[in-house]
Symmetry: C2
């Protein structure tokens, strides 16, 4: 492998590493948050979502190993930012757990899909596949709807919660960007220029606003 290819490979490993640890961590957090569910059926629904995440995790670390990298080392730089994000956005209510599982997951998925446009085809397909059933929209939309009917005042609290999720996600993404040059070069190089990066952020923001709107929340 020549020197000029090295940054690309490092960036791909970074992308797969952050995504893999994100999935493992999502499993852990969603499994934990499922305990707040008001019924056994809803608890099981969230548990099934957690189980999907661990399936994605397996595919991602297998790909890291196929690329000749060590999955544990690939994930290591992202453990702290991901865990910090979760520690700062620990849901206190079932509504917060639902919004986090849906909005947080959707935001992360949109971001990863954008980056995946800049990597090789097998990696892109794998990322798309890992994210395919993310969002779990119908379940969250229905159950947040139930909560808002029961208590319309919850809308402003959950809207605020959605903004907090975005704020903490941006904060941790900035930490990662400061540390992972290869990943930043991949995004900047892939997008082409700052106007394109600005457009990328606009697309992700637009999807987030739409996701909140569908939940009956403001962003």
């Amino acid at each position: 492998m020549t020197e000029t290819h090295q940054p690309d490979r490092a960036a791909v490993i970074d992308l797969l590493g952050v995504l893999a640890y994100g999935e493992l961590s999502a499993f852990d957090r969603i499994a934990h948050d499922a305990r707040m569910a008001p019924t056994t059926a809803l608890r099981a629904a969230l548990a099934e979502k957690a189980a999907l995440e661990i399936g994605h995790y397996r595919k991602l670390i297998d790909r890291i190993a196929d690329l000749g990298a060590d999955p544990q080392q690939a994930m290591a730089p992202f453990v702290m930012p991901v865990e910090t994000f979760h520690a700062r956005t620990e849901p206190k209510t079932w509504g917060e757990a639902l919004v986090k599982a849906y909005v947080g997951d959707g935001l992360a998925a949109d971001f990863y899909r954008e980056i995946a446009n800049y990597v090789d085809e097998p990696t892109r397909s794998l990322v798309d596949e890992a994210l395919a059933d993310s969002g779990n929209a119908e379940f969250a939309i229905r159950e947040v709807g139930v909560l808002l009917v029961q208590d319309p005042t919850a809308a402003s609290r959950l809207s605020l919660w959605g903004r907090r999720l975005v704020g903490e996600a941006i904060s941790q993404a900035q930490h990662v960007a400061a540390e992972r040059d290869a990943l930043v070069r991949l995004i900047v190089g892939g997008a082409g220029d700052l106007t394109a990066i600005s457009a990328l952020i606009d697309r992700i923001t637009g999807k987030h606003v739409e996701r909140m709107r569908v939940l009956g929340l403001s962003s």
Copy 2:
């Protein structure tokens, strides 16, 4: 449906109900215990085991619904004994978590397989399928082995822990037996007589002793 068939159906629903809630609860507990893993790879391995349990849960409650019963109602009588079992056997160390995930799971699986011999064919196949990948023997044997090499004194503590798991399981099974007549009739009727029940208990005990021995522990 005639009166004489009623106990059978109630017993089958009970069997599927306790098994389904057991799987949902196992998901929850194993997902939680995975946090104690000393490495990300081991944490993921236990998370993958938890994910298997939730897949079994889904098949079991679908079968309950197919039989015309309400899955939530079918599980309800078993929530308290299952949760009590887990509350009284909460692992405090990674070793305890490993032994519980393997020995506890194996013990329950052996018991359910015995009962499944007394029910209709589609239910028996489903129960066998739900239990097929239980045990996860190689993973637990290897990792308990690692722990015992690092700290040989752990063997006596983990052996004691294994006995406590069995004691609490028997205690909760007795509570269930006192409440669920149909299930008891199924087992007594299926086994035929007290000698056969005694043989059933001997078989389950024998498998437990063997499982502990393979782990390098006494029972």
